[in-house]
């Protein structure tokens, strides 16, 4: 169980959080304009990266805020945490 630093509450045990999957998949603003393939891509297709992944977490048993985490999925090491709407760290 890792420790996540909630940008609002600080360091907390992972058990307080729930994962929200890959980050920065923006819900299309005009879904009706999309082809079935493009919509399926948004709905289901994931990079599912082994390595550094940008992902969403929710402090479900805390402040209930959503935020982003940069984590290496091969060893669970967390490199950065940033709020929704903030720019992802570039390195």
């Amino acid at each position: 169980m890792f420790i996540i630093t909630c940008p609002f509450c600080g360091e907390r045990d992972q058990s307080e959080f729930s994962a929200g999957g890959e980050a920065h998949i923006v819900r299309p603003k005009q879904p009706t304009e999309l082809s079935d393939d493009e919509w399926a891509d948004f709905l289901f297709m994931r990079k599912n990266i082994k390595g550094i992944q940008f992902e969403r977490w929710n402090h479900a048993h805390g402040c209930r805020k959503w935020f982003n985490v940069v984590r290496d999925t091969s060893n669970d090491k967390i490199y950065a945490v940033y709020k929704m709407g903030e720019k992802p760290p570039s390195n």
């Binding site: 169980m1 994962a19 890959e22 297709m45 994931r46 990266i49 082994k50």
Partner: protein, 417 residues
Amino acid sequence: MKNNYSIFSLLKNSLSYHENWQQAWRDPEPKKEYEAVIVGGGGHGLATAFYLAKKHNMKNIAVVEKGWIGGGNTGRNTTIIRSNYLWDASAGLYDHALKLWENLSQEINYNVMFSQRGVMNLAHNLQDVRDLKRRTHANRLNGIDAVWLSTEEVKKFCPIINTSPDIRYPVLGGTLQRRAGTARHDAVAWGYARGADAMGVDIIQNCEVKGIKRINDAVEGLETTKGFIKTKKIGVVAAGHSSVIANMAGIRLPLESKPLQALVSEPVKPIIDTVVMSNAVHAYVSQSDKGELVIGAGTDAYVSYTQRGSHDVVEGTLKAILELYPIFSRMKMLRQWGGIVDICPDASPIISKTSIKGLYFNCGWGTGGFKATPGSGDLFAHTIANDEPHALNAAFNINRFVSGDLVDEHGAAAVAH
């Protein structure tokens, strides 16, 4: 010709202190080119190679495995085999596999210790009852031997279950598939490997795929840690690492890879002679032929390739075990481990062609792939050999995520995702 395995060969070899047994499979270096290459030397991949050679006469083929064969989820699962799935497509797929299991030891001359000790699924609330009855009716009409059991019948079939009405989520009944059971997981990989090798298939271990070469929209070969291997057909059966290979080919799959945990107790004399699963209270348990209680836990809810899950999941599972089997409180956990399972949004697998010619994927088995091993291998071999799916795996194409024609088996999958 390989040694045939039998009591007679054992007796004969005992005279020479077992020093004359042949290799079960060779340890070849990769050739420059193959007719087809299977990526992933787990049970599914080895079975695919076996049936490609046996049924489709494709013998100039190879299986490349990053580590050692059977070392992924084949060697990490809780070995449950059953076919009591809800939808016709799934029932067809899993029962095809179950029928192959029933003759597998003889087919590959390797005792996979298939034990038809029955699998029981318990209901703990009224919606569970409706869902399980629905599944039982569907199973019966599909020719699958599932029956509904009352609480009393559950107790009779497995007396150590706590069926008291006073527990938090009392057992309200269950379904039983008697043809279902367990098998020895390692033996499946080893038996298929031996069988495939005997027909000329090259099984190449410690060979990691580093890239997929394509020209336009067709595959040309594989970059591996043992050099470039040319081939026109690549069948990927890489379980938790499917997306890693897909990313190499530049395609995305509807998968998330998550740690699934399991544990065994210390070995004890026979105490439970069937497999019992419960979705609502979330625990499933059987006893291995060594005497260990084999207990499946759930997946963590986040993507991870660490093969280790969080302790919470194990704690939650054992909590459920003690709710249903209070007598196990003084039993001890001997070993816990994790596997990386690739989960599809509809809890059904993908056995399919892709948009790239000659690239085939067999993935998304989630928490329940072991039971399908022979069927999955057989149908994937068919798909690769004919460049067309078999009728039994047609529904499990990748395109279903575009059309919306999903095969939603969340209810029948062992682990609620």
